[in-house]
Symmetry: C2
C-alpha cells in the first residue's frame, strides 16, 4: 500500500526546519548548508556528485531512503522557490523552474502547493512540476493517483510537513536533528501536541553528531 513518507528532513535542536531570509541564493536562509552537512558527507551524496568516499554508516543508509520507492512528491511553494504572491507579478520569476537545474532529482510528478495557478512545467529526466491550490487531503489524492503502487514523498518545507501531520496524513517521517541552534526561521514542531501517541518513535544518534528520529504510524 502506498505510504506518505518524509525522508531526510533536517531540523536544528531548537526545531527550525529552515532559517530566516530565504532568497534565490539561500534556499535555507541564514541556515546556509548547516542543516545538511551530515548528508553531504555520505557515500550516497558523494556518488551522486561524482566524488569518491563518504560515510557508509547510519547517516548513509538513511540518506539512501530519499530515492527508494517513490512515485510522486508533494512540496510547499517555499521548497520550489523563494517567491510569494501571484507568479505573474514576479517578472523573471515566470522563468523560475526550481533550484535544481534542467534535470531535477525527482524523476516523477511533483505537486507544488500554491494558491496561484501556473501551467505545469515538464523538465528533463521525468520530473514534471504541477502547481496546485489544494488541501493536504486533495494534494495527497492527486499524488497517490500519479504514484500508483509507489509511495509519495512529502518534501517539505516545515510548514508543509506540519500541515500534513496536523491532518493525520503522514505514514512515515524521518527527522534528522542537527546539533546547531538556528534561533530563527520556520519551526517544524509547533502545534503538534501529543503527536507521539499516533506513532512509534525511534531515535538513533550518529557519530557525525546528528540524531535520526523515525516516526512510524501505529
Amino acid at each position: 500500500m502506498s505510504r506518505l513518507r518524509v525522508q531526510n528532513f533536517a531540523v536544528s535542536i531548537d526545531g527550525f526546519g529552515t532559517g530566516a531570509g530565504l532568497t534565490f541564493e539561500s534556499p535555507f536562509g541564514h541556515a546556509g548548508h548547516r542543516l545538511h552537512e551530515w548528508y553531504f558527507d555520505t557515500r550516497f551524496w558523494r556518488s551522486k556528485v561524482g566524488d569518491d568516499g563518504g560515510s557508509s554508516g547510519v547517516d548513509d543508509v538513511f540518506a539512501q531512503q530519499i530515492d527508494i520507492g517513490f512515485g510522486a512528491e508533494i512540496m510547499g511553494r517555499g521548497k520550489f522557490g523563494p517567491q510569494a504572491g501571484p507568479w505573474s507579478d514576479l517578472g523573471t520569476d515566470d522563468e523560475w523552474r526550481g533550484w535544481w537545474g534542467p534535470n531535477p532529482p525527482f524523476h516523477t510528478p511533483v505537486f507544488v502547493l500554491t494558491h496561484h495557478a501556473r501551467p505545469s512545467i515538464e523538465m528533463e529526466g521525468g520530473t514534471t512540476f504541477h502547481f496546485v491550490d489544494a488541501s493536504p487531503e486533495e494534494a495527497l489524492e492527486l499524488a497517490r493517483s500519479a504514484a500508483g503502487e509507489l509511495d509519495v514523498r512529502l518534501g517539505g518545507g516545515p510548514s508543509t510537513v506540519r500541515a500534513f501531520l496536523a491532518a493525520g496524513l503522514v505514514d512515515v517521517m524521518h527527522i534528522v536533528q542537527v546539533p546547531i541552534l538556528l534561533g530563527r526561521g520556520v519551526r517544524l514542531w509547533d502545534g503538534l501536541e501529543g503527536l507521539e501517541s499516533r506513532y512509534a518513535v525511534e531515535s538513533v544518534s550518529s557519530p557525525s553528531g546528528v540524531t535520526h528520529m523515525t516516526f512510524t504510524r501505529r
Copy 2:
C-alpha cells in the same frame, strides 16, 4: 576549578522544559511525569526510593551525575513552587518549603532566584534555601562562595537555564530529549542562536527512547 553544571534537564522534542499550568499538585503542569519516566526507570532512582532493579545503562550513568560533586544549587522560583508575586500576599504560601518534604535532596545551600525577599529556610539534611534577588552573575558568585571547590548545580527551570546560557555562565549542560511533543509550556531553546559555537556537543540515544545531549564549554 568549580564548574556550573546542568544535569538531567529534560525537554520534549518540541523543546519544552516544563508544561503549561503549574500547580501545587502538578510541578510540571500538563507534562505530568512524562519528562522524567526515563529517570524513574534507572537503578539510581529506584535505589533512592528503596526499590530493587532499574536500568544500569546510559540513562543510569547520566542520572547519577545529579549527585556527584556539587556544593550548591541555583534554581528559579518556579522550581521551588508554583507561586508568583510577593510571598506575603500568598497566605499559606509562607509555609511553603518546596516540593521535597522536610529533607530535600540537595543537602547544600540552594539559592532560589526571586524578586521578593524572604528569610532563609533551614531544612533537615543540610539543605538551606536562600531567596535572592540577583542577576545570574551575582547568583553564581554567591553559589560559588558557598560551594568552595565543588561545582554549582543549575537546577532549572527552563527560563533560568536559558538566562544563564545567554549570560555565558554554563560550563556543562546535560539535556535529555524525551520523544514526546508537549505543544505548550516553557521553552528551553528560545533566543540561543549559535550556542553550539561555544560548546562541544555530543548526542547519544538510549534504548529507553530518550537522547542524551551534552554541551561542554570549549
